[in-house]
């Protein structure tokens, strides 16, 4: 009962600001609405007992990516972006596509019998994640550093003024 209530509240905390993110005509408000969405998703992770991912979600999404997005809004259109038209001519088409996709996905998800396994998650999941990264997924781990390097170099080259 309590679990269901918590799940409903967190879903609403995730989805309602997400609606604002995609529909608000004020770009800064849309960007700030990302924060409750990300925090709601954090709550969902916690309910799924993925504590470490939840912490990272707050740190990276709410603390870093949102800040980056806000910076770019301030640096490009600033508040003038508040008064320009934000939606293009594809609104009906886009809405139709989104609703259709949602319908298809929900039908598929409810119809499929997922092979659920009753097991317990490792209680201290930072240790489990660390072990996984340093043993089974070590290649992903090392490639990630190269991806980070490439995106750092690429973004600096693109963003820097040529002079």
């Amino acid at each position: 009962m309590g679990e269901l209530a918590a799940f409903m509240i967190l879903s609403l905390v995730t989805l309602i600001p997400a609606v604002v993110v995609v529909t608000s005509s004020n770009i800064v408000r849309a960007a700030l609405s990302l924060v409750p969405t990300f925090l709601g998703v954090t709550g969902l992770y916690v309910m799924l007992q993925a504590e470490f991912v939840a912490g990272i979600q707050v740190l990276i999404y709410a603390g870093a990516i949102t800040v980056l997005i806000l910076f770019v809004i301030m640096l490009t259109e600033g508040g003038t972006g508040v008064r320009t038209r934000q939606l293009n001519d594809q609104v009906p088409l886009g809405a139709m596509a989104a609703v259709w996709l949602a319908f298809v996905l929900i039908v598929i998800f409810t119809r499929t019998g997922w092979p659920t396994a009753a097991g317990v998650l490792p209680a201290y999941n930072v240790v489990a994640v660390g072990n996984a990264f340093l043993s089974d997924y070590v290649l992903i781990f090392e490639v990630t550093s190269v991806v980070l390097l490439v995106s750092l170099v690429g973004a600096i080259v693109i963003a820097r003024r040529e002079d």
Binding site: G43, M47, F52, M74, L75, T144, S145, L149, I156, R160
Partner: protein
Amino acid sequence: MPKVLLDWFYVAVFAVVGTLMAVLPLVVVWLLAPRADLPQKTITYESGVIPFGQAWAQFNVRYYLFALVFVVFDVEVIYLYPWAVVFRQLGAFAFAEMLLFLLVLLVGLAYAWRKGALEWV
């Protein structure tokens, strides 16, 4: 209830109660404080001069470069957390893996340094 859920249940309650207690003084102010609507009062402060132009102006790209380097290194740090917890059980191999990981990123830092992305001119 598993410990994880109970822990974060407390966090959620703290967030809600904290918000209420932070809003409470605002309500008290709304009840207590005087209100007088003078047009001059809502003018933003600009050292006593009537504000001109658009306050929501554009800023320098330098701010963006710092935010960029920050995001990349913040992501790097999230991989250090699980490593820091387990590396002593896994021994020298885990240390070597992290050394490689960090060396690649130090190349990135050196590049950013060299290209002047860390420079505030």
